[in-house]
Symmetry: C2
Subunit: 493 residues, 2 copies
């Protein structure tokens, strides 16, 4: 695989000096075009240590407008990073639309170094690479252009380079102990690199292997590749504008059988039963949450449901049992402009709790497959692939030890009307009822279909949906509390 | 001080039941008004542990619209927090305009607990409280409304409460070991609390002391106080709109003596001298930076200077000597909407480096006293107080062990014109010259005044300004590099 990249490509000084000013001008032009378009560019620079990655990145930063480009070099994760799912820090560093992000030490570093150091076996490596492919596909689906450059350098050449540096008093400082250690691991690294490149060179995000033996050659090659990829992408997206096929609002008749229809909404508790159970489960939850905190186990709770389904009330029954320092309730409101400029999951990644913390979402990422689907804010393609994206996201949380629980608070149409009317009578609840609520009511059947699909496609072993019979608020609150207690208890063993 | 708050205030159930719905309605109304105005509200809830802070916060969250209120409970700082100046996490949690933030365990917790645990003495405490007063004043100056509530409870009452909880199987879980420990420290805590309240009850942000013995009384009292403060503030700011007095553009004649005028711009290096020194200092810097990283010493470098003064070039001569994982260059561009909704220093706090990291600003917070002053984007009042705010900010960085260095790259008017012309000839530098640059040139004298003032008022022992003779790019780059090396060397001892 690296045969071609070991031929020792060079670029003559004269040609370099002539080519660079042109390239810089073109790169600036393409940056301007990019700034006006609606997609981000992610450049991954990987390859052998000592292959000149650092110099290439320095030159790219020199050539381009610094306001539109940001380099993230990922090192050993910090404590706060370790306390979150491994991909959290990569998500936080993703470029916004119109921007270029350069990752050094990206999601490729860990699998490779872990495998070399025998911390994971071959099957683990495959599974990690599968995950890498998934994440890249998700980002590309969302419109991101991913450009991957692998800087290669033959063992012989690397040896020679280190030697010549060591002799030169002006360049001696460039040689570190790490470089020498890495040279010893060269063959191992090279073998595994080949495998990684093979498995992650996808149609949408292929690797470019660059001979790194001459910085003039490698930097111009990488620069031209970036230029070409962005230009082609812009051209292509103009020819084929992102399809914005709206969902057909088939005002279908109510289905004969539905998941929600199968719930027994007559379930209820008397006030006395409720008060007893409430104190009981709140006390239990308090103890369990403290234990979870000590053990570093986080929870992510998602509350979804019909308007006026009682989400807020259910959340408060949970938080009243918790220490204010341990939880955060996140009501999902309109995204900020920083959030709009990223993948729709980015703003949820932002709030991923640290180990031991509890995050409760009042509405969530499921908006994508509920309101955005029904109202046509997301294209069919977008909400269809969202099921997989959401499953992947929740799996990452779960793999990092987070307890993920999702609740749908179900009431029937009559109960909803009763609650709307009741709210309109109470001065401090009036604001909760808007025209939009009545408009949503008219789409009841479409929402019901969307909920059925959502539960079917995203109820997983690691993040199950709990359907809550919520016509009786007391019953619903206790069921949510109890289910959270049970899940915590199980998790704590 | 707490005499009144120990009388055992209660609110009858009937009155409470009648008052709460009114209060909720009014709070929602005031939240709506707030959402449309241009200031944030910060509520600090402090007081004895077990005094019912948690319950009050739960109720406030229940009464108000969750989309406009966010509670931050600060616990023991995490590793990532400890690796930054102590106030970093508070800055990150500040509410945006139109929003309410509640802080539990705010900047008051640390001074109090450290003093009780004898980790700081009386003088340290005073110095910390002075700092608290400064930060609150800065926030208030920027338009923030700060509401501080101290929840008190007499020792007797607290004892009784814990006892009764322990007996009740349904409430037993509410009593923690910490509560019992804190009860033992009650007298100490009470004495120090009095002192803290006294010293930090300022005209703009007074403390309200609330008797916490009855949750009905305390919650309604706090709720009404919040309502009253926000309403009064809105009314007041309508009567007296923020004064937007623009700076007079006194097209003053050039001053006889100026700091910048005293620089010898004829200083220069030959190409050979330059190349030697460059390799030498880059090698030195690389070693020093590695040592600083190991020792956890961060640097914050600020590059300011005339347009075309050579900031970018000087920055690159530094970064070429560094490992990409250790530094970040932040080109200061237009703020995002999240940034605009905060204090102007917030977006710089955001990027405060972790211990061992290097952050280089290409333009910086000094925009406030340069372009914003000259162009009249900031009122005179705003840029005048910015000197103190900036000094405080840099002192915090410095106190946290950060090396803060500031450079003004000075060229004369003729050299600038020459560079503008030169840039216009180079295809990839053309974009750097805009009409704005020529417009700025016309304000040369005003900028020169602003720079003189800036250097005079913000050159401190802990964060000095370095004026760089930059008519010769080579000379300037070496001087910046050398000065950074010298400062690092001194810091590393």
């Amino acid at each position: 695989m690296f045969e071609l990249a070991e031929l020792g490509h060079t670029l003559e000084k004269e040609i370099y000096k002539k080519r660079v000013p042109e390239l810089r001008t073109q790169l600036l032009e393409v940056q301007n075009k990019l700034a006006e378009s609606n997609f981000p560019v992610l450049i991954l620079i990987s390859g052998v240590d000592g292959g000149g990655k650092g110099e290439i990145i320095n030159l790219l930063n020199e050539w381009m407008d610094p306001r539109g480009i940001q380099t993230h070099a990922f090192d050993v994760p910090s404590e706060d990073e370790r306390k979150r799912p491994p991909y959290w820090r990569y998500w936080m560093g993703l470029p916004a639309t119109g921007q270029i992000g350069i990752f050094v030490g990206s999601w490729y570093s860990n699998p490779i170094s872990q495998f070399i150091n025998k911390k994971i076996d071959s099957a683990d490596l495959d599974s990690q690479l599968l995950h890498v492919n998934n994440i890249e596909r998700e980002l590309v689906d969302d419109g991101m252009l991913i450009i991957k450059c692998w800087i290669h350098m033959s063992k012989e050449h690397q040896k020679k380079k280190l030697k010549s540096y060591k002799k030169d008093p002006g360049k001696k400082w460039r040689v570190t102990k790490k470089d020498i250690k890495h040279l010893k691991l060269y063959d191992k690294f090279s073998n595994i690199a080949e495998r990684v490149i093979r498995q992650t060179s996808t149609g949408h995000s292929p690797w470019l292997i660059v001979d790194g033996s001459d910085i003039k050659y490698s930097s111009v090659t990488v620069g031209e590749h970036i230029l070409d990829r962005i230009n082609t992408y812009i051209k292509h997206s103009k020819l084929k504008p992102f399809s914005k096929e709206k969902t057909e609002n088939n005002n279908s008749i109510k289905k004969e059988m539905s998941l929600l229809g199968s719930l027994d909404l007559s379930k209820q508790y008397s006030k006395k039963e409720y008060n007893n159970k409430l104190e009981n489960f709140q006390g239990k939850l308090n103890l369990l949450a403290r234990e979870a905190r000590l053990k570093g186990i986080s929870s992510t709770l998602v509350l979804e449901g019909w308007d006026a389904g009682g989400k807020g009330g259910a959340i408060r029954r949970i938080t009243h049992a918790l220490d204010a320092r341990q939880y955060r309730v996140i009501p999902v409101a309109a995204p900020t402009d920083e959030e709009k400029a990223h993948h729709y999951l980015w703003r949820f990644w932002r709030h991923v709790p640290k180990a031991g913390q509890i995050t409760i979402y009042d509405r969530s990422w499921y908006g994508r497959v509920l309101v955005e689907r029904v109202e046509g804010f997301a294209t069919k393609d977008e909400w269809l692939r969202a099921y997989t994206e959401i499953n992947d996201f929740e799996e990452e949380l779960s793999d990092a030890g987070v307890l993920v629980l999702k609740y749908w608070l179900h009431i029937d149409k009559e109960e909803q009307e009763r609650r709307f009317k009741e709210r309109e009578q109470i001065s401090y609840k009036k604001h909760k009822i808007t025209e939009e609520d009545y408009r949503n009511r008219k789409m009841w059947n479409q929402y019901e279909d969307a909920v059925d699909d959502m539960v079917t496609r995203t109820s997983t072993e690691y993040a199950p949906w709990n359907l809550i019979e919520a016509n009786d608020k007391r019953f619903a609150r206790i069921k949510v509390l109890k289910s959270y207690c049970d899940a915590l208890e199980k998790k704590l063993g």
